[in-house]
Symmetry: C2
Subunit: 371 residues, 2 copies
């Protein structure tokens, strides 16, 4: 099927913005197939390939490795005006580590390629690295050393970070496509804090001394990847999961789509930071929790009995004196069911469907709209 499609020439005027990120990834997969790449794929190594949060393979019996790679571009993914170099370093690395956590795996090494303007101040690049080193230390304190092990620096007309994180996986881990009808959907920690922090930053820093504002801004600037949580729920038997980078609404749709199912989310169940409700009121807080991105919590799906076991294991972990305050709990927010793949229904407190505030995120289309 893929082979036949690649033989059809592509409309020479069609642009990336017109077909979007997912259409592009689909077409590039077909190009590889058409170029004989399908004959090369080492299925025997257990490779998942393009599409999940990270690539997974088994180089030798008893060792499963995961790898994720991502790039952040100035004025597309961050602005120097609103993001300090140190926060940028922390968040860029946290984002990639979160993709490893989303597999139920443990990050071990990061490789960082920096694109820098020649007139970039050394002191700023050092701050960037301090932010990354801070995140790496915070991850290492969970038990396993996580190091920045290499990389490259190149000249660039814009600041660009491209980060690769490698990790190891014990057991089966978490996959987007492993959801089953009737599975409960649950999230770690709380939602909407990052979107609230960004909103407060964009309104100006007048209230930054207020503890609520400071805590929401910290959630935006310094997300904590849920590594222990991902491993713990996977050990408890959860098979389906991903991280929340683009907002619960869009990401639940992606997980449901990968599993060939529909999803229902209940607004009343969304876990909210108390500071978020105090600053924005209950209704706006729930909208931010539903549609705001960059929380980097985990979204998992499992039968009720498995989800309960996972919650108990998490509670046990969080009472470990080395991990007190570092492990967050699970909250059930909805379920997977048979239906059009990727369809998400949002229910209000009375069980009535509501119209979601916006659809999923697409980097290219967003960029087109903004320009």
């Amino acid at each position: 099927m893929g082979l036949a499609m690649t033989d059809r020439p592509t409309d020479p005027d069609l642009t990336v913005a017109e077909i979007g990120e997912f259409g592009l990834i689909d077409r590039l997969g077909r190009v590889l197939m058409g170029a004989g790449h399908d004959t090369l794929r080492p299925e025997a190594t257990g490779e998942i390939g393009i599409g999940d949060d990270a690539a997974l393979w088994q180089p030798t019996p008893g060792l499963r490795e995961v790898l994720t790679t991502d790039a952040l571009i100035e004025d597309v993914h961050f602005r120097h005006r609103t993001t300090s170099w140190r926060d940028l370093g922390w968040k860029a690395l946290a984002q990639n580590v979160s993709d490893i956590a989303a597999m139920g795996a443990t990050p071990t090494r990061a490789f960082v390629t920096l694109g820098l303007r020649p007139d970039t101040r050394i002191a700023d690049v050092e701050e960037l690295y301090r932010g990354m080193a801070g995140l790496a230390l915070s991850v290492s304190e969970l038990g396993r050393a996580f190091v920045i092990a290499g990389g490259d620096t190149v000249s660039s007309p814009f600041t660009m970070l491209s980060i690769t994180v490698v990790g190891e996986l014990a057991g089966e881990g978490l996959r987007r496509a492993a959801g089953r009808p009737g599975d409960l959907l649950a999230v770690t920690g709380s939602l909407g804090g990052s979107a609230a922090g960004l909103t407060l930053l964009e309104q100006g820093d007048a209230g930054l001394q207020h503890p609520d504002v400071a805590s929401l801004v910290a959630l935006h600037r310094r997300p904590q990847p849920r590594i222990v949580e991902g491993q713990t729920v996977a050990e408890a038997g959860v098979r389906c999961g991903m991280d929340l980078s683009d907002g619960l609404l869009g990401d639940a749709g992606k997980l449901a789509y990968a599993s060939g199912l529909s999803a229902t989310l209940e607004m009343e169940r969304l876990p909210l930071p108390r500071a978020l409700v105090r600053q924005f009121g209950d209704e706006q807080a729930r909208m931010m929790a539903l549609a705001g991105g960059e929380d980097f919590e985990l979204l998992v799906a499992a039968p009720a009995t498995v989800m309960e076991r996972a919650s108990i294991r998490l509670a046990e972990q969080s009472s470990d004196h080395d991990l007190i305050g570092r492990v967050v709990s699970l909250t059930v927010v909805g379920r997977l069911e048979k239906g059009p793949p990727g369809q998400v229904t949002v229910l209000d407190g009375h069980g009535q469907p509501i119209t979601p505030p916006r659809s999923s995120w697409d980097h290219f289309r967003q960029a087109e709209t903004q320009s």
Copy 2:
């Protein structure tokens, strides 16, 4: 020492262009040390870390893995006006594979992050992927499957490719720092072809039909990473090597510096493509072989007996009917000796020192000069 240095505040006005790529890498390593990163480094895993062609670690006994990551930025590393999308795909991947070959390792997987303008034509991105798939097939034909296993696409104001290649290493492999006094220096294949191809392209495409011109342009556009060569010489006992990306003169200096030695190169020994001599004459051809970059041949150092064994093994490989025409030979071009680390002396046909045409390449300083 590193700790004390990071406590001294950095001059706030100092820029990347002023200290250059190597100064920057040095400072960033110190930042990691100062942030407690030295306590995390898993020395026990055999990690080399920042500085060699690729990172190396041993996740489990009997398996050594290597990883390299690099970025190419539009108008810094390539121009769409002079490089087709398909050639760009081939060369970007070849360049990273060459870093794996430089370790004496076998590439197994590539991960590609693309930064694309929203108005980029899909047909162009497909061409880029066809170029990468072509290189991947050409590498796979050497014996071991090499696949593009994942990646990411992001919106960007300019075209950007960030590529990570993972591989496996049997045995000790090649390292820059492993040179010893008296070691011979040798290169695979021939030198200067890529620089000549670029020069011809910049002069316009009038002579592209001429077989000499076509062959030199092909050396520039479609470099062949020396994977079999790297593995074969490592198996024969060669311990020191790197790939030639920035030109023999500069790269021999880097290898000598890493080994704490000086190097001598003999102009008369440089292996030249016949087409290069016919098109540019002997003298200019030798200058291109000495200082022209992007040949992606290997530079290795070893005692004479080991180098002879490596040459014989390569000759045996190149007569393997599956590899005929795919394996190139070694040519001795100089030697390592005691002296100021990194100093390179170039001798003419009479054994007299000559003044090298230019010093090593620095991405940031080059960019500064050009702007």
